[in-house]
Amino acid sequence: MKRYLLYRAALLLPTIFGVLTLVFLLIHLIPGDPVDIMLGETASAADRQELRQVLGLNQPLLVQYRSFIINLLRGDLGQSLYERRSVTSIVRARYPATLELALCAMIAALVISFPLAVCAAVRRGSWTDRTTLTVSLLGLSMPNFWLGPLAMIIFSIQLGWLPVSGRGGPDHLVLPALTLGLGMAAILIRILRTNLLRVMSEDYVQTARAKGLSERSVWLKHALRNALLSLVTIVSLQFGGLLAGSLITETIFSWPGLGRMTVQAIEMRDYPLVQGCVLVISLSYVFLNFVTDIIYKWVDPRISYGN
């Protein structure tokens, strides 16, 4: 396990390095002069010069890259141009709201998908199974930028059951978490159902049946337990997707998280803030993948990843 940890950590480094490089280069991908784009064409020459100085754009690319990495190691993500605060402090203030939303969305997805997938698998080929599969495909095809406003129209505006937007008590969480989590639920239903069916055709399940175990015990003690293993990977991979999906959901429901901040920063052309937000969301995703691999190896020692 220790060797595996070291091997996986060694793989993590080039990925983090690549992510940092790509985020650094983002600002340089802007067609034309980034300062023109950020300040507009009417800005004075002095203002342009000042911004160029603040962003370090007047230095050679390699020098800029070096300072970017050094500052990052110190926890300094630069200054936001419009908020006039450090990007680190903005990210720190906004990140908990995004995590809260993503976590609730994940719980919602699990609560919805688990019983449906088990029912579908137990009654394979039945009416229940076919309906569940169709509904999950429909869920997969419904983008959150449509589902969100639709849920808002029905449950907040017409029925008045839930608040329209913002962050507050648990009732504020219901619509954003469901909007974000339904897509994930649809994916989980399909994967968990397939895994359950695969496990049920394994030899050890046949052996358990041959021993005379009740169908209930076979499902609970053998099928579910093994099918859940693969769920660890899927859930954490999807959690990263939820962090990215929060950009749209948070914008729809005015949720004060990192996703909405990213969109606002894009609208204000505050590129240092865009870089900071993208970096934090991406690094969370990379770290989550790393932790998933470790957990997966820990819960299932049969997993081998070569040397």
Binding site: P14, G18, L137, W146, P149, V263
Partner: protein, 255 residues
């Protein structure tokens, strides 16, 4: 899917009005004999805009997948066929790109490139090609030691010929499935970008930008968001169903 494709191809014939023509006397109508699905805040006909929006979706979906396939198949073939250091380098590059949540990277690229149809296609292809590259590389790795490839090499075929004439035809079925899901994903991604104001520039009708415009009128005119959304969901559902059916067929053939 036929409905979607016909709407996209024959939009000028099928749509009752010009999707850009404004009529401020008839703004935010829910529905009427003249405007079956109503009008938006500038009095533009929603049905006509949905029909023309299908064009944008089809264009983005097809172009993104074509560009992603071009890059992905190229890189995947080189990586799988060459092996060694080249393979290692290209696979690390793919790992790095895949380390980003896809839509986040597309949003970041679009944010720096600015709105516009061509920018959307480039941004989506930049994140989309990695899946095809991985698929092609994996398949080529398993195929390249087969007898027919050894035979082609022994006959003096150059690597490009071996890849194009002998290896790639074997990859067509899985690529076709991936491409079907890819078109659906690109349509949703374009919708997401346009919804955030990073996609197709106004006044061009796109389903995502229609949803974005409609968001401001949720209270008074919910039809502005409902109808373009239904068009998008049905199209994506149809593509996913076709992808699923193709996948089932391929799996049955392999068995």
């Amino acid at each position: 899917m036929l409905l979607f494709a016909s709407a996209a191809l024959f939009a000028p014939v099928l749509s009752p009005y010009n999707p850009l023509s404004q009529n401020l006397d008839q703004d935010l109508i829910t529905h009427s004999a003249q405007h079956l699905l109503g009008t938006d805040k500038l009095g533009r006909d929603i049905l006509s805009r949905i029909i023309f929006g299908a064009r944008i979706s089809l264009l983005v979906g097809a172009s993104t997948v074509a560009l992603s396939l071009l890059i992905g198949v190229g890189v995947g073939s080189i990586s799988g066929y060459a092996g060694g250091f080249v393979d290692l380098l290209l696979m690390r590059l793919i790992d790095i790109l895949m380390a980003f949540p896809g839509i986040l990277l597309a949003i970041a690229f679009s944010a720096v490139l600015g709105p516009g149809l061509d920018h959307v296609i480039v941004a989506l292809a930049l994140i989309g090609w990695t899946n095809y590259a991985r698929l092609v590389r994996g398949e080529i790795l398993s195929l390249r030691e087969r007898d027919f490839v050894h035979a082609a090499r022994a006959l003096g075929c150059r690597p490009t010929r071996v890849i194009v004439l002998h290896l790639l035809p074997n990859l067509l079925p899985p690529l076709l499935i991936q491409a079907t899901f890819g078109v659906a994903a690109a349509i949703v991604a374009e919708g997401s970008l346009s919804f955030l104001g990073l996609g197709v520039a106004p006044p061009t009708a796109s389903w995502g930008s229609m949803l974005n415009e409609g968001r401001q009128f949720l209270l008074v005119a919910p039809h502005l968001t409902t109808y373009p959304g239904i068009a998008l969901v049905l199209t994506v559902l149809a593509l996913n169903l076709v992808g699923d059916a193709l996948q089932d067929r391929l799996e049955r053939r392999i068995r």
